[in-house]
């Protein structure tokens, strides 16, 4: 705990994170701080760097510049599975279930590898997560054959099975119907109520505005705005990014 961020209740502290792919700068010195227990939104047009930012936080990409701190400890150089064990979980934009396994077996992997759950409690713990997410009646089904909404739920359930302090939801609602969106939103609110900090990346404005306490806006790899949802919608810079001049 070398950093004073932890004292201020900052859970995730990204400082001037830069990522380049060849000559293309996907992230240009993006900084953001997420407080413990916060519901944090990240929006921006397609290609603005949202998922790249998530990949740098979860460790599947290494940032070229800047530093990322989690609970005051430096993340840079740590492998994704180590970050998962530290308490950072993510769901994938395109669901990536373990297709050869049942829904419950999908949760056994993170429970075994990322938590200290004893072998005797694993399936009980897995079932209780499925209960929370609303997938309990699908526990024995082949995960590759789930419907879209259930696959999104499985993504969240598997992320929850790592027992995270920070959950990053990468477009968990894309392509869902309006009632399904409400379904996922309700789950995320409930998880946040249990004390989990949540970063939501979303294109569905209705959802992200309702959910987030604070929002950052990315455009072409730069942070162009940050603030409460109401301030964001009235920000001329944001309007320009989405609608053009």
């Amino acid at each position: 705990m070398t950093d004073d961020g932890a004292a201020r209740g900052v859970l995730l502290d990204a400082r001037a994170v830069t990522k380049r792919f060849g000559g293309f700068t996907a992230l240009d010195e993006v900084s953001l701080g997420v407080r413990t227990g916060e519901r944090f939104g990240m929006i921006g047009p397609n290609g603005s760097g949202k998922t790249t930012m998530i990949n740098c936080i979860s460790g599947t990409l290494a940032n070229d510049g800047g530093e990322i701190f989690f609970k005051g400890g430096k993340l840079d150089g740590r492998k994704p599975h180590e970050r998962t064990r530290l308490g950072i979980a993510r769901s994938f934009q395109i669901p990536k279930p373990f297709r050869s396994m049942t829904v419950l077996e999908n949760l056994v992997i993170p429970l075994e590898y990322a938590t200290h759950t004893g072998p005797a409690e694993i399936s009980e713990r897995g079932m209780s997560i499925l209960e929370t997410i609303g997938l309990a009646d699908r526990a024995g089904e082949n995960s590759g054959k789930l419907t879209q909404i259930d696959m999104r739920k499985l993504e969240l359930a598997r992320a929850m099975a790592t027992e995270p302090e920070l959950l990053i939801s990468d477009e968990a609602m894309a392509g869902l119907s309006s009632s399904e969106v409400d379904d996922i939103l309700e789950i995320l609110f409930r998880l946040n109520g249990e004390g989990i900090t949540i970063i939501m990346i979303e294109h569905i404005m209705r959802a992200v505005m309702r959910f987030s306490e604070r929002i950052v806006v990315l455009d072409a790899g730069r942070k162009i705005a940050e603030g409460a949802p109401d301030d964001i919608v009235n920000d001329p810079e944001v309007e320009r990014a989405y609608l053009g001049e």
């Binding site: 599975h81 998962t84 373990f98 396994m101 099975a161």
Partner: protein, 318 residues
């Protein structure tokens, strides 16, 4: 199957093998041992391949390379101090395990077809090295004069057969143990989706290296007695592509996701090949493999094990 019943069966089979080879309870034509040795050798190779190819989804085309390095390690040991077979086996295993580890470090960034090509290239590079290494006979090959008889087995081939039988039991036992362990579940997660596995807390690189090392070890073990079996080894026979093709085809035909699959596939395909060699022609073997493989890929992509499961499930429903 429970843990105890698997090892009970293994013990029964080992004892049967001992009864046949040591006590000669029934007279068996020596050819049966020659043919049986090859079938059992494929049980080891197919099981070893399946740990990487079936459990983890990394298709290794370099089985022949590992097999040959196992065989040539025995040649080196023999040339050095006439090492006995029981020393050749573990040393060949360790050498090939390290080779697997090195291959893992070098190639596991590659996926899919690129990984397969890299493993094939590795086998070719190794063959070229051996061809130009005079100590092990170079392109002309190397002889090992084995004893005609060995106590208490009698004919030496009976000893080799029994040894390979134990190695096959060992290999299948290792594969089964991995499959049911935490490591095995992590490896299955890698096969299904590597990025998702890593983000679920699975140390993917470490597990991949474990799999390549264990797989390489078992392939080396299978190759170690080869020189004693044939008496003469040359690069083109030890590095024969047929080892690579068979050890891919056998798990595919048997079913690649469980330890039973490569066992069934190797016993079935290996036996058919041996019978065909005697009754028709040895040239026919690759054709048999090809036809069966095409048939199974189309009709039963999950192999015989998958077929049986499907029948059982439909039986339960009806």
């Amino acid at each position: 199957m429970k843990l105890s019943s698997f090892w009970l069966w293994a013990a029964v089979i080992a004892l049967l093998g001992a009864a046949l080879t040591i006590f000669d309870i029934v007279p068996v034509n020596a050819f049966v041992y020659f043919a049986g040795y090859v079938v059992l050798q494929y049980v080891v190779l197919a099981t070893a391949w399946n740990i990487m190819g079936g459990y983890m989804g990394y298709v290794n085309f370099g089985t022949a390379g590992f097999f040959a390095v196992g065989a040539y390690t025995s040649v080196v040991l023999y040339n050095l101090f006439k090492a006995p077979l029981l020393l050749m086996i573990p040393v060949s295993g360790i050498v090939c395990g390290l080779l697997g580890l090195a291959m893992g470090y070098l190639t596991l960034r590659l996926r899919g077809v690129f990984f397969a090509i890299a493993t094939l290239a590795l086998a070719i590079v190794l063959e070229t090295l051996v061809i130009n290494w005079d100590y092990v006979g170079g392109a002309t090959g190397a002889y090992i004069l084995r004893d005609r008889e060995i106590a208490p087995f009698g004919d030496y081939i009976e000893f080799l057969f029994f040894t390979m039988l134990l190695l096959a039991i060992f290999a299948v036992g290792v594969a089964r143990w991995i499959e049911r362990s935490k490591a095995g579940r992590g490896i299955a997660a890698i096969r299904d989706d590597e990025e998702a596995a890593e983000c679920a807390g699975v140390p993917t690189l470490k597990l991949k290296l474990v799999a390549t090392t264990v797989s390489g070890f078992l392939m080396g073990v299978a190759g170690a007695p080869f020189v004693l079996y044939v008496g003469f080894v040359e690069p083109s026979s030890a590095f024969n592509l047929v080892y690579a093709v068979n050890s891919i085809a056998m798990p595919m035909i048997g079913g690649a996701t469980t330890w039973v699959g490569p066992l069934i596939g190797a016993l079935l395909l290996g036996t058919v090949q041996q019978v065909a060699t005697v009754t028709i022609s040895s040239e026919l073997n690759l054709l048999i493999v090809g036809v069966l493989l095409v048939f199974f890929v189309i009709a039963a992509p999950e192999g015989i094990v998958g077929l049986v499961r499907k029948w059982r499930r439909s039986g339960d429903d009806g």
